[in-house]
Amino acid sequence: MIALLKRNEALWLFIHSPAAIIAALVALAIILGAAFAPWIALVDPYDLSSFSLFDGLLPPVWEDGANPKYLLGTDDQGRDMISSILYGARLSLFIGLAAMTIATVLGVSLGLAAGYYGGRFDAIVMRIADVQLALPAILTALLIDGIARGLLPADIQQELRVWVLTLAIALSLWVNFARTARASTLVQMNKDYVQAAVMMGQRPIRIMFVHIFPNILGPLLVIMTVDLASAILLEATLSFLGIGLPADSPSLGTLIRIGMQFLLSGEWWILWIPTLFLVALVVSINVLGDFLRDVFNPRLR
């Protein structure tokens, strides 16, 4: 067993990196909590009947006037903080993961194809990427949101909120994947095993996905982690600005926006607890991303 661990370099580095271990644990805890929220949480924040104003504004358990049932206190509507956070994390994670997946599939396919075929197709994809780069991620996300608002009738808008956000964030992130995939593909194209495959007469699709793709996975994994963090941050920012998820189905970003009202009035936990969770989640994902980057690029160690 020890011998196996020693041989797999990535695993060995992981075991010897306390930061990575802690990050993985934190991320795992939050993710599991979010996934099992409906079963763990005390209260369903969406169910208006499950909480009452009488329980409102209760502080966390270590301060005076707290109710031990609500470990981290309640907000102004009487909702349990822990439950809100778990459900909020659920939404944040769902959107982040969905957006990241779409961006990955779209970006990698386009990047691979652009690198393999070159020529006109490559030029077109790169031009589109150039234009999109001129507009920073948050701008693209806001734009898509604005367009959706303009195009969709008001009632459908609410239901599709989550999907509009996911699409908006995905479209602002795909360029990163496409460029990296393309650059890595171009490197591989020069390698002899690709030349051999082309020369032997193998099908292009096979060459791209069976031969080239496994070899460009490294840098892509790093970007996937980093972009997951970006996606979550982006969603939080949009919700904070009031354009993301609304207060009745809040993500962590929305919770922070709500909490800001209480900045001056003393109910600090409504603001800072969701903030802490958001930061913990994103930091751990970024630490893991950094760790992956070091694994794939030994020279930076």
Binding site: A196, M200, G201, H211, P214
Partner: protein, 566 residues
């Protein structure tokens, strides 16, 4: 002058400390060129790095004494050690392109170095720099000194590098593979220059290289290294001509001679693939011979021309065309090996790409056997030539997909060409084939990175042969390999060719290797054929002056040194 005793260098790793070199003894006198020769992984570069104190972290000197005249180099503080660098010991590296700072002019880099070690005014430093460049052989030095590194050609750049190492009047220069990246002609000039500097300025050189011909040409004394240990040391003629240590003997046996053709390289039994055949390989052999119903196939090429459009660099001028191949015509006789020799830029690789359908020629026709060979755009993926013509590439580290198991790699041609439709049978055939190239059966489930360069190259050959080709193109198949491994692979190719009646186009830049392998020869230069003909005739009585030049410039060991080793 330089004395090294019991030198040991270690590198900490997750498996504990790895010993890079140990028990290394060496002495160099002033004005002596001392060659340090060995195959890859021998530790030669580590010795050089240890002397100048530039071992890559986290390596460290574990033991030993290094003295330069009276100075104990290990006893110096980091500041003192850094002061010694350049002043008394200098080092030059393999690639002149990356050795120079691209953002500074040559003048700036020279003056900076000069002023670091002596107290002279900028004007004086400038004059010294110009004089030095003239001495080194750069004409118009006063003008050219103001240029940037990328404005010099490869050979000139290496001279600039040498000038930079020289400008501080060091006692010892460590040269780590200084001519490996250069063309034969340029290599010769640089070697002559090094010899001259040693003689005239009494500078000692530690010449690190894997090329025995280079050592034979200019080294006074030589030390042979293997696996981190120094095995043999002495006068060059004696060590190379009448070696004592068995490893050196085997090494010299593996060096392809330039002056004659030997039928096979003599190798120790444990390294010789042919001697290691077991019955495991007979299945593959029979299967391959089964497919051998047709007679050997030849290749004819007529008026092949390849023109590339240059990249646009100026607004007003259209880009120049670059002619890589200019009206090439030749014929490869069925069942023979045709050697194609040329320096870098001669068009050899372009030719290989045109033949295999990776590049579309501007003009010309090709014929494989009886059938016309369509050019790239016309050649469909299912055309028979895709199977009949296979290739072995130069770089063993990139010709196998590092994410695929060996079994997958070998099975590919079998199912791609519909040769064997059952997965189990394919696996059995692949196992059997591995034996034919001298690899163990358990290699099937391993990944390429678990094998050495030579082993990977053998797997690449196995992959090519499994397609049951008639024509094999070998593009510098051994240029990236050590001499002894090269001998092994060349023997293998010869054997396979004889057994299966293959026709081979063997591309190389190394005249000695070409002589050993080829029945017929083509000499290529700047896209044109300089000379063709039967191999032995070409080597003994070359017609074209260029061929003669190539033969003259190839560094080789004088045959007088060897005391009947053939």
């Amino acid at each position: 002058m330089l004395t090294i005793k019991d030198l040991a260098v270690k590198f900490p790793s997750r498996f504990g400390d790895v010993t890079a070199i140990e028990d290394v003894d060496l002495t160099i006198r002033p004005g002596e060129i001392h060659g340090l020769v060995g195959e890859s992984g021998a530790g030669k570069s580590t010795v050089g790095a240890a002397v100048i104190g530039l071992i890559s972290t986290p390596g460290y000197i574990a033991n030993g004494k290094i003295t330069l005249d009276d100075t104990d180099l290990r006893a110096l503080t980091p500041e003192q050690a850094h002061a010694v660098r350049g002043d008394r010991i200098s080092m030059i590296f393999q690639d002149p392109q990356t050795s120079l700072n691209p953002l500074m002019t040559v003048e700036e880099q020279l003056i900076e170095t000069i002023q670091t070690h002596s107290d002279v005014s900028t004007q004086d430093a400038h004059k010294r720099a110009v004089d030095l460049l003239e001495e080194i052989g750069i004409k118009d030095a006063a003008q050219r000194i103001k240029s940037y590194p990328h404005q010099f050609s490869g050979g000139m750049r290496q001279r600039v590098v040498i000038a930079l190492a020289l400008c501080t009047d060091p006692e010892l220069i460590i040269a780590d593979e200084p001519t490996t990246a250069l063309d034969v002609a340029v290599q010769q000039q640089v070697l002559d220059l090094l010899r001259e500097l040693a003689d005239r300025r009494n500078i000692a050189f530690l010449l690190i290289t894997h090329d025995i011909g280079v050592i034979a040409q200019i080294a006074d004394r030589v030390t042979v290294m293997r696996n981190g240990k120094a095995l043999e040391s002495g006068e060059t003629a004696q060590v190379l001509g009448r070696p004592q240590h068995p490893y050196t003997v085997a090494l010299m046996d593996a060096v392809p001679p330039l002056d004659r053709k030997i039928p096979r390289f003599r190798l120790p039994v444990e390294d010789d693939i042919a001697a290691q055949h077991t019955t495991r390989g007979t299945d593959a052999q029979n299967w391959l011979l089964e497919g051998e119903q047709t007679p050997p196939t030849g290749l004819t090429v007529q008026n092949l021309t390849m023109r590339f459009r240059g990249t646009r660099t100026s607004l007003w001028q259209k880009p120049d065309h670059f002619t890589a191949l200019d009206d090439i015509s030749f014929a490869v006789r069925p069942g023979t090996i045709m050697g194609l020799v040329g320096e870098s830029g001669s068009g050899k690789s372009t030719l290989a790409k045109v033949l295999t359908g990776l590049l579309n020629p501007s003009q010309g026709t090709m014929t494989l056997g009886d059938a016309p060979l369509p050019s790239a755009r016309q050649r469909s993926r299912h055309h028979p030539s895709r199977r009949l013509m296979q290739m072995v590439f130069q770089d063993p580290y990139s010709s196998l997909n590092s994410r695929h198991k060996i079994g997958t790699i070998l099975a590919e041609p079998l199912w791609l060409y519909g040769l064997v439709n059952d997965a189990g049978e394919r696996r059995a055939l692949a196992t059997s084939m591995l034996d034919l190239v001298g690899m163990p059966a358990d290699a099937l489930d391993k990944y390429p990175h678990q094998f050495s360069g030579g082993q990977r190259q053998r797997i690449a050959v196995a992959r090519a042969i499994l397609a049951r080709p008639k024509f094999l193109i070998c593009d510098e198949p051994t240029s990236a390999l050590d001499v002894s491994i090269q001998a092994q692979v060349l023997n293998l190719l010869k054997d396979l060719q004889a057994t299966f009646g293959l026709t081979i186009l063997f591309i190389t830049h190394n005249m000695s290797v070409a002589r050993q392998m080829a029945d017929d020869m083509i000499v290529l230069r700047n896209g044109r054929i300089e000379e063709t003909g039967a191999s032995e005739t070409l080597f003994t009585t070359p017609q074209a002056p260029y061929t003669q030049t190539l033969l003259d410039l190839t560094p080789a060991m004088p045959s007088t040194w060897a005391a009947s080793n053939a």
